[in-house]
């Protein structure tokens, strides 16, 4: 090979070429900065430095060297071109032709003498080779390769399969590592290997690698597991204990071949923007940087044409600091709109926009033909599942002025993308047509599909009877005008309609629902007979409902899908919501907001925006008197629903009754009373959910090293509470059993004993103040209320007061409680004095004692039994603002009950407590999370088979029946205790007690007894006694809201609550399983919480 070294001609051509290449470099380098204006190099400064450096180096010398090195194509040395010369002269011409090729550079000389010399040389070489032994040849080759080491080399010639691992190769070992640390560890291992290289114990691993798609593991190449373990020893985040697993030899290669879904962008393709103002918007790729990291996009801008003052000032004077202009109190993203120079100048001033060539520059973005052109990083784009809709595409095609721009949008790109999907959407039986290939024009039904081959049964023509097989992508679904179709996928999914026209693969149909023409790709359609109807209701929510999404957010459902909703929230964001993500439906029928002119703005008013885009619409809902959700069929976006500020609306039809003061409730006009405040408090409560009510409670530690310390519970976790001690400001974790609740007066009570204690909040001014706790409603079903009543607690009222404050909110904003609480659905007592909720508290506590007749009550209430039906009374409280009027108080519930006092005067010592108000509250709050608020878990569904329609006769030993024997808390009355078989000589006859436990002796010789705690024991020291079960009779419920146990029927043995009392003693009860049943009162027994 050295023969060529001196030949000046050799390599001449490549040298020139090299020059050219370098010139190209120069050009490129010049171009680059131009293009670079759109790029942001993070290190512009450093760039300058480097340029200086580059200048300092003597480029001539540097490049010259390189040039010398690259004089010849390296391949010449590997190609024995002399061999050709040795052949016939005819082939010389061919060789010359080769020479023109860059690949083999043939010296361009026809000097015969020289050629002869070379021939001679070749012959000599040949002879020498023959003489040399093979070992020498090998050595020669070896040397030849060694020399090439400094050059760029590549062993790219071997096909990959030749590189498959053999048994001689080291093995790969999989090592578990901490997820997220994989790359760090690979780097650490590298550094470790270099550090220890010349130590006495170098690492004996050959390589190690990590794949992003295989989290939590790295692979180490070594001969034995021990070497791997040695290498990993001492590294943090490696878990060698979890095994160093050998990778089977046939899986080694695939580890390195793992390929992420390769997403490539090509100019013209569609992408979606993942983040920012343009989130979700469709964009078209214009160009891609060479390394594929950034792409230039073109899309429809969203320019805020109603900027906040700040923003425009920013533009002009820069007097204000640049704040998050988009985040003003009511941030909404502006709608997509083509850039219009005049409009923008009108708003932002002439300075804001500059024009360069054909392009406008505005706020550092360039706009061309109405589109914005902007560079995005690839990572900020969504490349798959773009699914551009026809609407979006059309907007792109039509461009700014509505005229078809010169087809810069290639529909074939979408078609192509659609076609890929088409394979998966075909189903046997579909009517298809062939649109390309030999069979184009044939149509028929799909018979079967195997991967991407469909076999179709053609219809018509002479092909009939034969099945033909076709690639799935060359067929498309066929529809004809008049077909009734249903959309299967996409944003119009589940719409149905009649096809009116078919153009290629775009089918236009008249929707059954909206009576509008909808165009979709035929791939998304199926023939369907059904008419899309019931799609407006999913679960308990339906279209245009105002729903609470989380604490801060409400939204209006503008589209229902198969099992989810599209919801537009008050910030203008569209969310995809599953029914379970909705905490509740809200009602704004009674909500009132004020419009721009100060008039009342109600649901269903037709209004118009005074600023912005001047949209018109019908008010669907108002929220917090500030946001108004409007609906207008004419807008396509978000199903015609949009959100705006109530203050920027004016009524379209002047309202005659706007200021009829006599008829209008002034309190409603008062925003402080009606609007924001009330609603806000209410919503805050709803969103809060089941907070542990122990949080915030002041406790005393009663056991352990901290015994005697006082603190406040900050958090609870199962049996553990975190208590902030008053002393030393220390937070400790301690079991709840070691804590006692500490009352204001210093008395200690069991922490969780809310059954025996006052209402959780009752004793506690502070706590009650900051949590108007919905669960205080529990009090209604615990004796707590009763006790509070019997021992009037000065703090009790204080604790409850905050709840009153919010009540107006409830009352005014959300009257239809029945609707919002499915649990309570069909409640026939709507609006039970929501506004009256406060009343029961004050009223009932004193009232309670009266019921049990003990006259222990210090102040018997001024309750007049002859007050007419309470059913109507609360209504009066509604519209008027007399909810505050404490004097106007009664307990309507008490009087609704027909003849209860007469039948059992002492029946319900406590029932005063479950007043409608309390219970409504309780129910409402309970709805979001029923189970947590259950005090007594309902018994497991008992034996349902014993349901019979026979007249109900309770056995004497009813307490021993399996359904009841494990129950506690039944309110019983002692009856039949006189006589020889009696008990205590009938001293306890007529007394009421609560069953604590039942003791079944299982023997006729020994009487089964029940442990009963008497409410008014003869001997106060012994409130609980063992009573023979025979003398215990169930106490019937009488009142709405009473907790009961069902004695008979399919729900026998289940706990329930009386929801309604109907004529004839019939009661409608709801069990804990939420089944509703109607039972007569004698099939029920009152249940009290057992302490």
């Amino acid at each position: 090979m050295s023969d060529f070294e001196g030949d000046p001609n050799i390599g001449g051509a490549p040298d020139e070429e090299n020059e050219e290449v370098e010139e190209e470099y120069e050009e490129e380098q010049d171009e680059r900065p131009r293009k670079g204006s759109r790029k942001d190099y993070d290190d512009a400064e450093e760039d300058e430095e480097d340029e200086e450096e580059a200048e300092e180096e003597d480029p001539g010398v540097e490049r010259g060297k390189k040039r010398r090195r690259t004089k010849r194509p390296a391949v010449n040395r590997f190609i024995d071109d002399e061999a050709e010369v040795d052949e016939d002269e005819d082939e010389e011409e061919d060789a010359d032709e080769y020479a023109r090729d860059d690949f083999v550079v043939e010296p361009e000389e026809d000097d015969l003498a020289q050629r002869a010399a070379r021939h001679a040389r070749f012959d000599r070489q040949e002879r020498e080779l023959d003489d040399q032994d093979l070992a020498k040849i090998a050595e020669n080759l070896n040397q030849r390769y060694k020399r090439t080491a400094k050059r760029f080399t590549s062993d790219a010639e071997l096909p990959q399969r030749m590189l498959m691992p053999s048994v001689e190769d080291p093995s790969l070992w999989q090592v578990r590592v901490r997820p997220g640390k994989e790359r760090d560890l690979v780097f650490s291992l590298m550094r470790k290997a270099l550090d220890l290289e010349f130590s006495n114990r170098p690492l004996q691993i050959f390589s190690t690698f990590q794949r992003d798609s295989l989290p939590g593991m790295i692979y180490v190449e070594a001969h034995s597991a021990k070497q791997v373990a040695d290498a990993c020893n001492g590294l943090v985040g490696v878990y060698p204990s979890r095994g160093i697993v050998l990778v089977p030899i046939d899986e080694m290669a695939s580890l390195l071949q793992i390929k992420k879904q390769d997403l490539t962008v090509t100019p013209g393709s569609w992408v979606r923007i993942k983040r920012g103002k343009y989130q979700g918007d469709l964009a078209q790729v214009m160009d891609v940087t060479e390394n594929g990291e950034e792409v230039g996009l073109k899309f429809i801008p969203r320019i805020d044409l109603n900027p906040k003052d700040d923003a425009s000032l920013d533009q002009l004077g820069k007097k204000r600091k640049k704040g998050p202009t988009g985040l003003s109190s009511f941030s909404m993203r502006p709608p997509q709109r083509f850039f219009n120079y005049e409009e923008v100048v009108k708003v932002y001033g002439r300075k804001g926009v500059s024009k360069r060539n054909q392009v406008y520059v505005f706020q550092n973005d360039t706009y061309r033909d109405g589109f914005i052109e902007k560079d995005f990083r690839l990572t900020a784009l969504q490349l798959d599942d773009v699914n551009p809709t026809l609407d979006e595409i059309t907007r792109f095609t039509h461009g700014q002025d509505g005229t078809e721009t010169d087809a810069n949008v290639d529909l074939s790109i979408i078609a192509e993308a659609s076609r890929k999907a088409a394979i998966s959407v075909l189903q046997p039986g579909d009517h298809v047509e062939v649109f390309e290939g030999e069979q184009a024009g044939v149509h028929g039904t799909v018979h079967s599909i195997e991967q991407d081959i469909v076999s179709i049964q053609p219809v018509g023509m002479d092909l009939e009877g034969h099945r033909i097989q076709l690639p799935a992508r060359s067929v498309r679904k066929r529809f004809k005008p008049g077909d009734h179709v249903k959309v299967m996928t996409g944003q119009n999914s589940d719409e149905t309609g009649l096809v009116v026209s078919v153009i290629d693969n775009v089918v236009t149909f008249l929707s059954d629902m909206s009576m509008q023409e909808v165009s979709v790709f035929s791939k998304d359609l199926r023939e369907a007979a059904e008419v899309g109807t019931g799609t407006n209701v999913v679960g308990n929510y339906e279209l245009h409902d105002l729903v609470q999404l989380d604490l801060q957010t409400v939204g209006v459902i503008f589209k229902t899908e198969r099992d989810s909703f599209r919801v537009l929230d008050q910030n203008g964001q569209v969310r995809l919501v599953q029914p379970h993500q909705i905490s509740m439906r809200r009602d704004s029928n009674r909500a009132i907001a004020t419009d721009a002119e100060g008039h009342e703005l109600r649901v269903n008013d037709n209004v118009k925006e005074i600023d912005g885009e001047g949209r018109k619409g019908r008010v669907l809902h108002t929220y917090q008197s500030f946001f108004a959700f409007l609906h207008n069929r004419d807008y396509n976006e978000n199903g015609g629903v949009f959100v705006t500020r109530a203050r920027s609306l004016v009524s379209l039809a002047p309202k005659g009754n706007a200021m009829k003061l006599g008829a209008t409730d002034l309190s409603k006009m008062n925003p402080a009373m009606t609007g924001g405040a009330g609603g806000m408090v209410g919503s805050g409560n709803i969103g809060r959910g089941p907070r542990d009510r122990l949080i915030g409670v002041t406790v005393t530690v009663t056991k352990g090293p901290n015994k005697g310390y006082i603190g406040t519970i900050k958090d609870t976790n199962g049996p553990i509470a975190r208590v902030e001690l008053v002393t030393g400001n220390k937070v400790i974790s301690i079991e709840k059993v070691k804590l006692m609740r500490r009352n204001q007066n210093g008395a200690l009570e069991p922490l969780e004993g809310s059954n025996t204690m006052g209402p959780p909040r009752g004793g506690f001014g502070g706590a009650g103040g900051h949590t108007p706790n919905p669960y205080a409603g529990n009090g209604g079903r615990t004796p707590a209320w009763g006790q509070a009543g019997r021992t009037p607690n000065p703090y009790a009222d204080g604790g409850k007061t905050p709840r009153w404050g919010q009540t107006p909110g409830w009352g005014d904003k959300t009257p239809a409680w029945g609707g919002t609480t499915p649990f309570h659905s069909g409640d026939k007592t709507p609006a039970w004095g929501q506004g009256r909720t406060p009343n029961p508290y004050t009223q009932n506590q004193p009232k309670t004692p009266r019921w049990d007749g003990s006259a222990r009550s210090p102040n018997n209430p001024a309750k007049s039994p002859d007050r007419p039906s309470g059913h109507e009374t609360p209504r009066r409280g509604w519209g008027s603002n007399d909810w505050e009027d404490v004097s106007f108080i009664d307990n309507p519930n008490g009087f609704r009950r027909p003849g209860d006092e007469a039948t059992s005067p002492a029946a319900n010592p406590y029932t005063g407590a479950p007043t409608p108000g309390v219970h409504d509250l309780y129910n409402d709050f309970r709805t979001p999370n029923i189970t947590t608020s259950m005090v007594t878990p309902g018994p497991s569904a008992g034996d349902f088979s014993n349901a019979s329609n026979a007249p109900f006769e309770l056995s004497d030993q009813w307490l021993l029946e399996t359904e009841f024997s494990s129950q506690r808390g039944m309110l019983v009355e002692v009856r039949g205790s006189f006589g020889p078989t009696g008990w205590f000589n009938g001293d306890y006859e007529g007394k009421l007690g609560i069953v604590n436990s039942i003791f079944d002796t299982q023997s006729p010789n020994f009487a089964a007894t029940a442990n009963v705690r008497f409410l008014e024991p003869l001997d106060p020291a012994k409130p609980a006694l063992q009573v023979p079960v025979e003398v215990l009779k169930p106490v019937k419920p009488e009142k709405y809201g009473t907790e009961v146990l069902i004695l008979h029927g399919p729900h026998k043995g289940q706990q329930a609550r009386v929801n309604m009392v109907e004529a004839g003693g019939l009661m409608v009860v709801t069990t804990k399983q939420f089944t509703v049943d109607e039972l007569s009162a004698d099939k029920l027994v009152v249940v009290r919480p057992v302490d």
Partner: protein, 121 residues
């Protein structure tokens, strides 16, 4: 040959690590600027030319290999980096070298294999 060694980036987390499109070695942009590519500098000529580095290297790579003993390592063989220096390499590197490099490779009779595993044989 194998005694050569690339500089090992000190911060593996660094987002800006770049991989050479030709030999898939991973270095920081600063190292590329200072030392060029340890394997293919001769052909890529990135040393001191940030623009060139932008064009010939990429941040889009998946998987990192620490090649400690390239000559004996099967991984290095498979990745066709056997003859290169020790250092960190990307398993998969997205993108193609600029056209001039491709032309140069062709001129030298070296088959260009993109590192994105798009070609398998």
């Amino acid at each position: 040959m194998s005694q050569g060694q690339a500089s090992i980036p000190s911060q593996p987390r660094a987002k800006q690590l770049r991989a050479c499109l030709l030999c898939s070695i991973i270095q920081t942009p600063a190292d590329f600027r200072k030392y060029g590519c340890p394997n293919c500098e001769e052909i890529m000529q990135m040393k001191g030319y940030p623009d060139r580095i932008q064009a010939c290297t990429t941040t889009h790579f998946d998987g990192v290999i620490a090649v400690i003993d390239p000559e004996r390592s099967w991984v290095a063989t498979w990745q066709r980096i056997k003859t290169y220096v020790r250092g960190m390499y990307g398993v998969r590197v997205k993108g193609r070298v600029p056209e001039d490099v491709e032309a140069e490779l062709e001129a030298r009779g070296i088959r260009y294999r993109p590192r994105d595993q798009s070609e398998q044989d």
